[in-house]
Amino acid sequence: MTESTPEDIGVLDFAVREHRSLWLDAWRRLISSNTARLGMFIVGVFILSAVLAHYFWKYDAKTDLDYSLKLKPPNLVATEKIKSIHPFGTDKLGRDIFRRTVHGGWNSLRVGIVAVGISLFVGGLLGLLAGFYESINITYLERIFLMGLTGLFLGSLSAWIAGQPIQALLFTGLGVISVLLSNFLAGKNTRLVLFAGIGLLLGAGPALLVGPLVAVVCGFLGIIVGAILSMPMGGRLFSNIVMRLMDIILSFPGYLLAIAIVAFLGPGLEKGMIAIGVVGIPVYARLARSAVLSVIQKEYILAAQSVGEAHGRIIFRYIFPNILSPIIVQTTMGLANAILSAAALGFLGLGAIPPEAEWGAMLGDSYRYLTSGAWWAVLYPGLAIMLSVLGFNLLGDGLRDALDPKLRI
């Protein structure tokens, strides 16, 4: 038997363990799974067709109209009666369903990406900050920043009702002042009364220009905001305010809230994006916060602090990359959900404005003709919705398996 020196073992150790990063590992696991590959394929086909159609196969929905081709069944060869080819048939206005389905994909994907982008950015950031400041000592500057943010956040509701954007800024200022004065006004009750009073003035004052009723509502809101701002700001208070707001949003049924927001903003694809995005915010906020709370207890965060890293760097360089996996999975699943929501809004006539091509709107346009035998007008957009949602869900499942920390070796 030959003796091995520690150097040999070191070399062997290095040779066995191939050098690769966590993300590369995850990618390999992802492409080795059949479901994920199928999901990627479906999603890829939809994205590719939508992008290609948008840039190279221009379509103007407003001029697309041909009553002579009304509700023709799918045909793959041109005949004397129907000169053009319609692989998916035509709808009630004689429009080619294939073309509209492909272009609808562009709209649906756009809604999905923008809506999820809104939820992810706002929700993720709020959750990240809430989770971080809940468990870490905050510095004076951060206190000012958070309190200002809280003021802006809470004040914007009253500012919105009164139609006076300046109010939101005033409340932001109140939040900052609250921190600056925290050493001078120590008496808890004096502070509370003082800030509630200032809140009343800030809320009701600008709103009086609009009307007495608005002034009453805004004054009431102002008192509450002022009272909250008078509290000694700790990370926990900030986290509580954010998460309770998320609970309020979550307490509404998702579709109902989206419909209410669209009804308020007016129909249109962009408004639909905002509505679906807002409804999705709490999901990401909760997910991000819970992930932060579990990551922040790891010793490498303490180690980062003990070498003197600043809070901002700890958040974005140490915590953020470590909470990415659940967020990536949720985002992929969320895309499916957003596409479905967009279709639902479109179906109800609240999303895309006709004659714009959008899957939900196409369904809503054509379901009445199902009884007269025009199955193709409903089948293809429906199939597109189903397949794209399936594709994103399969991909999400695959990502979840690939990114599962328990599988990391």
Binding site: L22, E299, Y300, A303, Q305, S306, V307, G308, E309, R408
Partner: protein
């Protein structure tokens, strides 16, 4: 000589739902430059919390440093701003933690994390930092340091991760290294290697080391001085020889009695200290060790004994009956 670190009456509390936890109750001592100090005690006796208080890394809320002073040179670390404190952390005082499995960030390479720490406090560019990181990894005994820089923590074994952690902590040449149970999660052979490593580095770099552990055997080998902590108090403090051979406090005697000895006859039973440490939420008025002490007298229940000198200036003990008690290991032990 002016001491490196001077701690006066440090008190740390945690405000929890169950009440106020008195984790550190007025700890005072000083450390010289280049000194190795062992801090020993049972779990939950305030060893780690007092170290984190020095670094001001106690999560607040629920934790709070109620009072005290921590002097490093002419600065009170508890009074300076958070921004100044950030420069102290890493550059002047660095820390190594217990669990090497979670103390490195899994999403970055080891080299990245060391260069990151370097560039934070030193005005050097990336290439220099990388070269320095390689030197550091070699210094802590990692073979093929250059290749290892590009490895992720999961490609390192536990002992190697702890070495990498030490390299990271040493990166800015701190004057004090706080090692919070750095060998607890490692097996015995690796423990010995890490202890040798720290002793060697301490010798080479001349920094002071605070070694926190519950293992009396570990500190006996390496420490110059030892603080024995119990329920948030230092109950005995002195040179390593004094603590082990001229033990004055019944608790320290109990700890030593519970260690297995090579020179004892086979079959000798280990003596354990009966009972549990007191609840830190409701500390007794008198000595916290009263309930478990075999030498207790009435006064112990009434009043916490102050830390007084026994056997000269360097050996202090907090016990009313220190002058009647003497124990410890035999000289040949």
């Amino acid at each position: 000589m002016e001491p490196l670190l001077k701690i006066k009456n440090l008190k740390t509390r945690f405000h929890t739902e169950d009440g106020i936890v008195n984790a550190v109750n007025g700890v005072s001592y000083s450390m010289d430059a280049g000194e190795i100090l062992g801090v020993v005690g049972e779990s939950g006796c305030g060893k780690s919390v007092h170290a984190l208080s020095i670094m001001r890394l106690i999560p607040c809320p629920p934790g709070n440093i109620e009072s005290g002073e921590v002097w490093l040179d002419d600065r009170d670390l508890l009074k300076i701003s958070e921004a100044e404190m950030r420069h102290v952390r890493g550059a002047e005082i660095a820390m190594v933690f217990q669990d090497p499995m979670t103390s490195l960030n899994p999403v970055y390479t080891v080299g990245f994390q060391i260069t990151e720490a370097l560039m934070l406090h030193k005005n050097i560019d990336k290439l220099e930092a990388r070269e320095r990181a390689r030197e550091l990894l070699t210094l802590v005994g990692i073979p093929e340091a250059k290749k290892r820089l590009d490895n992720y923590p999961h490609q390192f074994s536990g002992g190697m991760r702890q070495r990498a952690m030490i390299a990271m902590a040493l990166s800015c040449e701190p004057r004090l290294l706080i090692a919070d149970e750095p060998t607890t999660a490692l097996d015995v052979t690796i423990q010995a290697q890490i202890i040798d490593l720290v002793v060697r580095l301490q010798d080479q770099l001349g920094m002071a080391v605070m070694w926190i552990t519950h293992n009396l055997g570990v500190v006996a080998e390496l420490a110059h001085k030892i603080n024995v902590m119990y329920a948030g108090y230092i109950i005995e403090r002195g040179d390593t020889g004094d603590i082990y051979k001229r033990t004055r406090h019944p608790y320290t005697m109990g700890l030593l009695g519970s260690l297995p000895r090579l020179d004892e006859a086979p079959g000798t039973k280990l003596i354990s200290i009966p009972g549990l440490p007191p609840d830190l939420v409701a500390l007794p008025k008198g000595c916290p060790f009263y309930a478990r002490c075999t030498y207790r007298v009435g006064q112990c229940l009434e009043e916490m004994p102050p830390l007084v000198e026994a056997d000269g200036k360097e050996h202090t003990v907090a016990c009313w009956r220190w002058d009647t008690l003497q124990g410890g290991l035999r000289d040949d032990g």
